[in-house]
């Protein structure tokens, strides 16, 4: 079995989806978390000057989504057919767009601007996204086919961040709530959620 080493800061951030996927697949890996003071030393050694990075038997990969897709494939969570995989990709990318909008809200330092952005997000972008995705979810609580894929896990991860800011966001979205339940009840994920370091973000 290849050796996997994930390096990131001690936060969930852009590495958490990857960690969740390793956990779902029951794939052992080294979960390296570095302090900010160690970053300048590491930065020039990374492919694009960014983390997370994943080392696989010495080969280094960057770009969190590329890494996540790699781990999802190893864990059999990509989707079965090519069109299933494309569906998962498209749902993930659409979610990432909304994730960026959420980040803009959360990172806004000016208090009144932040309140404005938060209001706009919760009244427009968020309901639009959730309604759309409720439509993409099927009755069994999956986005792609009838079994767990990384599309479901990625949605769960995103909601984990989002509900910190908007706790009641998922109220009334029956199928989306089912997806969350399906993900949380996966044994690998349940174990990780219990054991993972608790961090601000």
């Amino acid at each position: 079995m290849p050796s996997y080493k994930l390096t990131y800061f001690n936060v969930r951030g852009r590495a958490e989806l990857i960690r969740l996927l390793f956990a779902t697949g029951g794939i052992p890996y080294e979960d390296v978390r570095i302090g900010r003071d160690k970053w300048p030393e590491l930065k020039p050694k990374t492919p694009m000057g960014q983390i997370p990075i994943l080392e696989v038997d010495g080969q280094v990969y960057c770009q969190s989504m590329a890494i996540a897709r790699f781990v999802a494939r190893e864990a059999g969570l990509l989707g079965e057919s090519s069109s299933d995989q494309a569906r998962a990709d498209m749902l993930l990318d659409g979610g990432a767009e909304v994730g960026e909008l959420l980040k803009e809200v959360v990172l806004e330092k000016d208090a009144s601007k932040r309140a404005e952005k938060k209001k706009e997000f919760s009244e427009k972008s968020l309901p639009h996204f959730l309604t759309l995705y409720e439509g993409f979810a099927n009755d069994s609580g999956h986005f792609v086919g009838e079994s767990l894929t990384w599309a479901d896990i990625s949605f769960f991860n995103m909601m984990d961040f989002l509900t910190a800011e908007f706790p009641s966001a998922l109220e009334g979205y029956d199928k989306l709530n089912k997806i969350i339940e399906n993900v949380k009840s996966n044994p690998g994920i349940a174990k990780w959620l219990k054991e993972r370091p608790v961090t601000d973000h």
Binding site: A66, F70, R73, A86, D89, M90, D93, G94
Partner: protein
């Protein structure tokens, strides 16, 4: 076996549809290249899975999100990389290039203030872009010395994304790849 029917929906521009069009063209796969004028967009928008373009329609199934589309066509035409590791290499380049494209789209379309826009553009061309071109050059060289491709030994969606970035940046600065010989040769 009957070949699937492909349709690409987008505005009459290269933009976010071009990587997919290039992959279809590279494989000699016929497709309906649907281009609509901006005024016609409100008609198409409700039919698109996320109300956005481009969209790839394959035998009636609609796939949106430009990277998802390109990766699908790359897989279908045998150009996605042969091993999981090659696929990760290709994907990593696509994501890095997309980050650059998104910066350009952001200052070009989303920045209303002309001074801020010029500032962002300058920062991109003076600092961010050369940094990333340096990374891409290094990654290209790491794959068999840099005289081939980004991943494995053939064209993948990584090249089509990079080519689209190149077309945009070279308009601004025709010599943008002068410090990156392997990237220049690849293009």
């Amino acid at each position: 076996e009957k070949m699937p029917a492909y349709k690409v929906y987008y505005f009459n521009a290269r933009g976010r549809a071009e990587p997919t069009r290039l992959l279809l063209a590279a494989a000699g796969v016929p497709f309906e290249d649907v281009r609509f004028e901006v005024e016609k967009w409100p008609e198409y928008k409700p039919k698109m899975p996320m109300g956005q373009a481009p969209v790839l329609e394959v035998d009636g199934t609609m796939i949106c999100q430009s990277a998802a589309m390109a990766r699908f066509v790359a897989r279908e035409t045998g150009r996605a990389g042969k091993t999981n590791l090659e696929m990760a290499q290709a994907d990593m380049i696509v994501n890095g290039v997309s980050d650059m494209i998104n910066i350009m789209i952001d200052y070009h379309y989303s920045e209303p203030d002309e001074t801020r826009k010029a500032e962002k553009k300058k920062k991109f061309f003076d600092t961010t872009l050369p940094q990333f071109l340096g990374h891409f050059e290094k990654l290209l060289v790491a794959n068999n010395g840099g005289d081939g491709f980004f991943a494995g030994d053939g064209l993948t969606h990584a090249e089509t994304f990079f080519l689209c970035l190149y077309e945009s940046i070279s308009k601004e600065n025709p010599n943008v790849l002068s410090a990156f010989p392997k990237l220049a040769a690849l293009v």
